[in-house]
């Protein structure tokens, strides 16, 4: 901003010097050789102005980088606070788009629009003062044109903002539509549906074009208005000054015009509008940033569906790890999905959870984990409530096999990793890998079959020292041999004194349990003690 003002001031000085040189040459008849110092001063001003301009850009850049880093950190903090259940309500690609791209969209606003907005007020005032001193009537032309501009821009801007929001929705819908279709490409191929899907993608993109054009028509209109005023003002000043110099204008200050003042007024007229024009060029940076910011703020405004401190009280039963007392979970759209339920988990216990799909098995595990708070009743947990988790979609991070295992135990040494893999039934796989633990894995389990990915997640459970282990369908996609090995491992976990909660359809994992809680439509429909 300061650098921008300096650059603006230097521009005015440059133009003054230019007009003065011209007048000295043409009117005063000063020989060129006598004007060398003036030319040198002008050259110096040019260099200084370039430096100031560079400083302005650099300052905007630094501010923008700072802001984006902070905004992203805040978003990620908030998403972590919302937790797995809170996040599940959103499309992952849309959230990633928010955290990555929409935060990037703040760049133009901070780096260019904000500094320019301050300049757009300060610079015209400075120029107006200079012009008024030269010729007050010319200054009046500028002054009359100026207030119309922000007014008109505000009118146009209001519409553009709304449209821009819509466009952001369109972009996110487009990416959602696309990733969804790509993920299901196999199915589209199998059903011979790829042509129709391609047409759908085209239609979605074309819809995006139409929306964009609606936004742009307005966004460009605002800058066209400015262009118009700038151009007309220059034309009016030029004609006024010309006629004044000829002595055709017999009133006002026109008589006093000289070639110097006339030329300077003409040169300053475009500069008067320049900051506003730059601002208009960056106007859709602003609109883009506001559209993005709105999405970000809406996300930040979402409250987690769990109490900030889940540790309400210690379990009352001696040796209890987690206790549910009349606890239930209600969903804003689906109503009550679980409970009311009483459950006490003792240390070293294996509890099975059975029930038809949709009966609330997963919700019960989420409640035990604290991913979702009880909407009624209470959940009490022991002080050392660390837990291990495994569900039907284990996360596989982009990195080595070892990186993936160390998610659960950052300090674990290689032997521990190998041991855990063996216990999860992945020993043979590891032996077959030339790169061993350093083998690279990727998102969505590239390189691993479904069963292998699930066993990797199990290996993480084995590595984790957590006293409570929550397992959602731990053997869903394993063959009988692997399943037997995994169940052996689970029994070994229990023998270590860990508490296991296993939600499953299948008989074999449930057979491990000392008691099996049968759920039906969120309620306990019976408990079988083994």
């Amino acid at each position: 901003m300061a650098a921008g003002l300096v650059a603006g001031g230097l521009t005015v000085a440059q133009l003054t010097l230019l007009a003065w040189l011209v007048a000295a040459l043409l009117v005063d008849g000063t020989p060129l050789s006598a004007l060398v110092p003036g030319f040198l001063a002008l050259a110096a001003l040019l260099v200084l102005r370039a430096l100031a301009q560079w400083g302005q850009d650099a300052a905007g850049l630094a501010a923008s980088l700072r802001l984006r880093t902070r905004a992203r950190a805040q978003l990620l903090d908030h998403l972590a606070e919302l937790g797995p259940v809170g996040v599940a309500g959103h499309h992952t690609a849309s959230l990633a788009n928010r955290v990555v791209d929409q935060v990037e969209a703040l760049d133009g606003y901070v780096a260019r629009f904000l500094p320019q907005r301050q300049l757009a007020v300060a610079m015209p005032l400075l120029i107006l003062a200079v012009v008024a001193w030269l010729d007050w009537l010319a200054a009046l032309f500028l002054l009359l044109a100026a207030p119309l501009i922000p007014l008109f821009m505000a009118l146009v801007g209001m519409g553009a903002e709304r449209l821009n929001r819509e466009q952001f929705d369109a972009v996110s819908r487009l990416s959602r539509h696309f990733i969804d279709r790509v993920r299901g490409l196999t199915t589209l191929q199998l059903f011979g549906h790829t042509r129709a899907a391609t047409r759908e993608v085209h239609a979605a993109a074309d819809d995006y074009r139409r929306r964009s054009m609606r936004t742009l028509r307005l966004a460009f209109l605002s800058s066209a208005v400015l262009e118009f005023f700038a151009a007309v003002a220059i034309a009016m000043v030029a004609i006024y000054v010309g006629f004044g110099l000829l002595g055709y204008i017999g009133y006002g200050p026109a008589d006093a015009l000289t070639l110097f003042s006339g030329l300077l007024v003409l040169l300053l007229a475009p500069e008067f509008f320049q900051p506003l024009r730059s601002l208009a060029q960056h106007y859709h940076d602003r609109a883009a940033a506001l559209g993005a910011a709105e999405g970000l703020v809406a996300l930040l405004a979402e409250r987690p569906r769990r109490p900030p401190d889940a540790r309400e009280a210690m379990p009352q039963a001696p040796g209890g790890l987690v206790e549910l007392v009349g606890a239930g979970v209600s969903h804003p759209e689906r109503g009550r999905v679980l409970g009311p339920l009483d459950l006490t988990l003792a240390r070293g216990e294996i509890v099975g959870v059975s029930g038809p799909s949709g009966a609330g098995k997963s919700t019960l595990l989420q409640l035990l984990a604290g991913f979702v708070g009880p909407s009624e009743g209470a959940r009490r947990v022991a002080a050392d409530h660390a837990f291990a988790w495994m569900d039907q979609r284990p996360v596989l991070i982009h990195g080595s096999l070892a990186d993936n295992l160390r998610l659960a135990a950052p300090e674990a040494d290689e032997d521990a990793l190998r041991h855990a893999l063996e216990r999860a039934g992945l020993g043979e796989l590891l032996a077959a890998l030339p790169a061993g633990l350093e083998t690279r894995l990727g998102e969505r389990g590239v390189g691993l079959s479904g069963g292998q990915a699930q066993r990797l997640a199990l290996a993480r459970v084995f590595l984790s020292p957590a006293p409570l282990v929550l397992l959602d369908e731990p053997t869903a996609s394993l063959d009988a041999a692997s399943e037997a090995r995994v169940l052996e491992g689970l029994a070994a976990l229990a023998a270590e004194g860990r508490t296991l909660v296993i939600a499953s359809h299948q008989a074999a994992p449930l057979a491990l349990a000392r008691r099996v809680l049968h759920l039906h439509e969120g309620r306990e429909a019976g408990t079988v003690h083994g």
């Binding site: 060129l32 990633a96 791209d101 000829l246 006339g262 799909s357 998610l407 869903a476 008989a507």
Partner: protein
């Protein structure tokens, strides 16, 4: 960093330039509008300067008592005309060019999707989901800068520099030559020089954004496990490291662009200063009139507008190049056109025969299938057993032509599989994949994937078969209920049943069922199996299941069982879950 194998700009951008060439007239019109707007701006300032000086000098002469006439109306009219054209041309130019580019983008998006749809299963599997998202949106969006931000402004700026230099040379060759030399050099730096300066960092930027996006998706999808293991902070650190690299590159690019901006200002400044000096000399020598002397630096001053947009655009040129390279690679990977189609498929159950079929995934340790034989008589129901990774899903992918075998012969109803018309193959075969794939659309739309013309009553019928009709009927929006990303709003069992119902809308001669009742409780699975039996009558059926013992009674009408050799059981190969069996 030197990348010796990187293709040159021409090879990389060639296909895209040819694509642009298809809309040559639109593009030329757009560039013409751009040039018109610039010429008007230039004319406005230059003519105004000339006019004021001329009137100023005339005023002085008049005051001195000289008798002279100055036509004020022609220049006055010219000034007004320039003012108007500048406004109108600029507005139309921006609107027109953006529309052109977005039209191009819509074609490109669909074109790239068609390319993806043409990839075979093995290649498809190697891409990560967020890669694709990035390819179709970010990369193609980046390519949009090719015309609007790079080609057109650079061409118009160069044309303006040369035209102005030529125009000024009419009065003073020295001024014209200086303008051409200084601004020509500046143009070279602002385009090629800036592109070079920002090349490495801007090439990395798209990758870095993609990596960041990948990390964020990982963190969100794995929130449960990360939170449970307390490794959220560690994962966050990895994410922040990616972000820090991104910021460093952004800073580098920003500073390079700032340098370009400063240089652009300096170059025009130096040029108008030089023009003023040279013009003043010529004026003193009596070669130039005063007003023309003033017009010269002013015209150069107005040219600034043409150069200011160049540095920031060209600093980012590497991103365009990298995006084009990635899209080129994807195009190059598409499936070669299949052999000439000669065969159609008969109605009724289809026979299957595989002889000595081999399949090896790229980069795999062991072949997924080696010398595999399979024969299925029309109407027969065969169960193929094997542990996970034994290659069951590979058999399904081969039979549905998702994969091409590396050896052996495959026949369907006696015809070579490769020679069967695509539409016929899709119509006469149906496959329930191991991974349930649903689309973020309504229940009805997901079902109609199988039969776009199916009437609503028919949809209710198949839903009733899988016992979802009652549930769907209770939903406030019924069949219009959206199922969410990948069917996430449904439970696993509901999603499985929906994909089964989808299959029932078809009338295939060969049905492949990969773990048809995975995730369903036993009682429900048995009821469904019973109903499925009726639908399977008169069709050849291939069941793919884990183990012979567990699924008895869930494979209606199975007449033969075949265990798949488990030699390749634990091969770690480039397969995603939908392929890994």
């Amino acid at each position: 960093m030197a990348e010796p194998s990187r293709p040159g700009w021409r090879a990389t951008l060639g296909p895209w330039l040819r694509l642009l060439g298809r809309r040559r007239r639109r593009l030329l019109a757009g560039a013409g509008l751009m040039a018109l707007a610039l010429a008007s701006a230039l004319g406005l300032l230059a003519l105004s300067g000339w006019f004021i000086t001329a009137t100023g000098l005339a005023g002085i002469a008049l005051a001195a008592g000289a008798a002279l006439t100055l036509d004020v109306y022609v220049p006055g009219g010219g000034i007004r005309a320039f003012a108007l054209t500048r406004t109108v041309a600029r507005y139309l130019e921006r609107l027109y060019n953006h529309d052109t580019v977005l039209r191009l983008l819509a074609d490109l998006r669909a074109g790239m999707f068609a390319v993806l749809a043409d990839l075979d299963a093995a290649r498809l599997a190697r891409r990560r989901a967020s890669d694709w998202l990035n390819r179709l949106t970010a990369d193609i969006d980046t390519l949009d800068s090719l015309f609007l931000r790079l080609l057109a402004p650079a061409a118009v700026a160069l044309a303006a520099i040369l035209a102005l230099a030529g125009f000024l040379a009419l009065w003073s060759p020295a001024v014209g030559g200086t303008v051409a030399a200084v601004l020509g050099l500046a143009w070279l730096w602002l385009t090629l020089g800036q592109a070079r300066l920002g090349l490495a960092a801007s090439r990395r930027r798209v990758d870095a954004l993609e990596r960041l996006r990948g990390r964020v998706i990982e963190q969100l999808q794995g929130l449960a496990e990360l939170e449970a293991y307390g490794s959220l902070a560690a994962h966050r650190q990895r994410l922040e490291a990616v972000e820090a690299r991104l910021a460093a590159d952004h800073r580098r690019l920003g500073l390079a662009a700032a340098l370009g901006n400063a240089l652009a200002g300096l170059a025009t400044g130096a040029t108008w200063l030089a023009a003023l000096w040279l013009a003043a000399r010529a004026w003193q020598g009596g070669e130039l009139a005063g007003p023309v002397m003033v017009m010269m630096p002013l015209a150069v001053l107005a040219l600034n507008e043409a150069l200011t947009a160049l540095p920031s655009a060209f600093t980012q040129a590497g991103a365009t190049q990298a995006a084009a390279e990635r899209l080129n690679a994807l195009r190059a990977a598409r499936r070669p056109p299949s052999s000439p189609v000669t065969a159609s498929l008969p109605e009724g159950p289809l026979a299957v025969s595989l002889e000595r079929v081999g399949l090896r995934y790229p980069g795999a340790l062991t072949p997924a299938l080696d010398g595999f034989d399979l024969a299925l008589a029309p109407g027969e129901r065969l169960a193929l057993y094997g542990a996970s990774g034994a290659g069951k899903s590979s058999v399904a992918a081969l039979l549905t032509r998702q994969l091409v075998p590396s050896a052996g012969r495959m026949r369907l109803a006696g015809r070579p599989l490769a020679a069967i018309a695509e539409a016929d193959l899709r119509r006469r075969t149906a496959c329930l994949t191991q991974l349930t794939e649903l689309f973020d659309d309504s229940l009805a739309a997901n079902l109609r994937l199988a039969d776009p013309s199916a009437e609503e009553a028919r949809l209710w019928e198949v839903l009733a078969v899988v016992e979802l009709a009652e549930w769907a009927d209770r939903l406030p929006r019924g069949l219009a209920t959206r199922v969410g990303e990948g069917g996430r709003r449904l439970s696993g069992g509901q999603a499985r049943r929906l994909s089964l119902a989808r299959l029932l809308l078809r009338d295939p001669g060969l049905v492949i069922l990969d773990e048809p009742f995975a995730g369903l409780d036993r009682a429900l699975a048995e009821r469904l199996a019973g109903r499925l039996d009726a639908w399977l009558r008169g069709r050849s059926v291939l069941y793919l299941v884990h183990a012979p013992g567990t699924a008895d009674g869930l494979l209606p009408g199975v007449t033969r069982r075949l265990a798949l050799d488990t030699a390749a059981q634990h091969a770690l190969c480039a397969r995603t879950r939908n392929l890994g069996g």
